[in-house]
Subunit: 362 residues, 2 copies
């Protein structure tokens, strides 16, 4: 028994498929009350479920929205995904998920796959990279997105625009003030701690990471401090852990900081995201160091699952879920009532959260 079709329903109700279509799937023309009723009965006596593929083919639009993330198990992306999902539901659309590990090549393929499925819009949540080695693939990604938009697709990118993407109609950016917020964090941290700072960053070229590093340095300078040393490492917990081990060794050596000043009273560590910060903290702890006594540490994102971590992690709170919602809404088809989609970047704000992990002991 194959799923029943509109035609079968129509036949059962004794009407034409056209009429059945009109009553079952919102059309401008509303058939007469009695007929409508008959069709509806026939439909659910048959357990009719419209074939979305056929519908999509017929009206060329699928009710699908594609979401691209690096890793759905990363709480950062998971939070954004929740927002996207929520907004999608509001718009009665479904979300198609693609994970790419951050490789632009994979992202390009994901875009193509979404295009193939005629997704109405695409939300790209992962941070883009500007590394030279990714240049070609980035270009391909941009080209693919471009084509997608030209064919009427809507795209929203979280954070940075895709490198080299022209900005055709339908291309939206939800920009996150990573740099500003990192600067603010630096300023506030510098106010409470006069030792050296070290930054644990992601691989060079990752926009999110680079912005946060740049912002932090800027904040330091604003506070009259010299630039902090930057340790590069992978953009996840184990990256943070590795960097943490190195720093632990340094702290225990009690040597001199990069500035040449004694680093006897520990270090101020800024990890470009919470997950890395937690990794670093774990490493320090493993090495017998205590936070914030031996090292103050701050992260970025304010991941919910990590809020119960002790000592409570200083960080920058970002409305991740809201960001997902905003991105999704930005791609919504123009609402009927004389709307005004603003194609300008949408405003997102964050908040510096100073907590236990950066308190000065005394």
């Amino acid at each position: 028994m194959a799923a029943s079709t509109l035609t079968e329903v129509a036949r059962l109700a004794g009407v034409s498929p056209a009429t059945a279509s009109r009553v079952l799937n919102g059309s401008a023309r509303k058939p007469g009350k009695d007929i409508a009723e008959r069709v509806r009965q026939a439909a659910d006596s048959l357990g009719y479920i419209p074939n979305a593929q056929a519908q999509g083919l017929a009206k060329s639009s699928s009710g699908l929205i594609g979401l691209i993330v690096h890793d759905i198990a990363d709480p950062y992306f998971a939070a954004i995904a929740r927002g996207v999902q929520e907004a999608a539901r509001e718009q009665r659309r479904m979300v198609l998920l693609a994970t790419t590990g951050g490789a632009p090549g994979e992202e390009k393929e994901a875009v193509a796959a979404f295009a193939a499925r005629r997704a109405d819009s695409i939300v790209i949540a992962g941070s883009r990279s500007s590394r030279a080695e990714d240049g070609d693939q980035n270009a391909e990604l941009a080209a693919e997105l471009d084509r997608y938009c030209r064919n009427g697709g809507q795209v929203a990118v979280v954070g940075h625009p895709v490198v080299g993407a022209a900005a055709p109609e339908g291309y939206h950016v939800v920009s996150v003030p990573n740099q500003e917020l990192a600067a603010k964090l630096a300023v506030e941290l510098a106010a409470g701690w006069d030792g050296d700072f070290v930054i644990i960053g992601g691989p060079e070229g990752l926009f999110t990471s680079d912005d946060r590093i740049r912002g932090f340095q800027e904040g330091l300078s604003r506070a009259g401090r010299g630039p902090a040393e930057v340790l590069r490492s992978s953009f996840n917990r184990s990256g943070g852990y590795d960097a943490g081990l190195k720093l632990a060794a340094r702290i225990k050596a009690g040597g001199t900081g990069q500035s040449g000043r004694p680093a006897g009273n520990g270090l101020g560590i800024f990890a470009v995201n919470d997950v890395m910060a937690i990794g670093a903290a774990a490493a320090l702890r493993t090495e017998g160091l205590r936070i914030p006594r031996d090292a103050r540490i701050a992260g970025f994102d304010d991941i919910e699952t990590l809020r119960d971590f002790r000592p409570a992690l200083s960080t920058v709170s970002l409305p991740l879920e809201e960001i997902g919602r905003l991105a999704t809404r930005a791609t919504a088809p123009p609402t009927a009532d004389g709307d005004e989609q603003d194609y300008a970047p949408l405003p997102v704000t964050g908040k510096v959260m100073l907590r236990r992990s950066t308190e000065t002991a005394d």
Copy 2:
């Protein structure tokens, strides 16, 4: 410029659409080398992307796999989702995401939506509930799934079968030995602690929760202990927190001295999942109690993000990602080479992890 079609490609290459289709989209019949080359060139000079909807319609199969979870931002589901995503990629399929908050009504709708999109298979990750008030909707869910399977769909359920679902062909269950593992945990905990146990459970009727509670009680009895009291609360962090507050009060009431050290020697707490356990721990801490000194606490799932929590949480490690993969693979179309899909439940094993949070002080 609308996306280009197969017909356009065919025309450019000077062949029939049939031939173009055969070379571009894997068909049994392979056209001649030279012609194939011409078609392929035409295709990518036009930037041709096959319309998956049309393909789906024509061969009635969509390359889609539907995933149903309660909340994608919950690390438990996120981990499973990662496994599903991974397996889907292996099979060159895409995943459609639906979140339901655990309501059977929503789940039924999600199944219908997947069916409408002609998803080849559905993976249901959320725990089902058997509460009376959900009875009707559960029945509807079961009916919907039944119909879906009868129409050739494959479904895999993680944990428990859907209540009332017959087991038609195409219905798979990845069973998780929640009860056994909880029993084992209880036995091991009881070996190291001779005080009272309390269980923080989810709402009554939630299978996962109930199984774990039952198992834990069973383990206690196996260890010669009486059954533990069960505190019901919501199946998330805040549920754990609330329960934690109550228990904190109780522990403190049990105490006399100003030392803060409760008389008696505290409580052994088992929360039915890690997230709840963390919530409970946070509550205890808020109330000035210390773990494991004033209360030993254990969770379930071994959520990765929570592994850096201190004191390290005793728990039961579950191969969440693997579970997602297994479920997805169970729904894979029979492989060509004389396969033998076993429709029997797949084996999943877990492991009791005793860590700091349940260590006895001395």
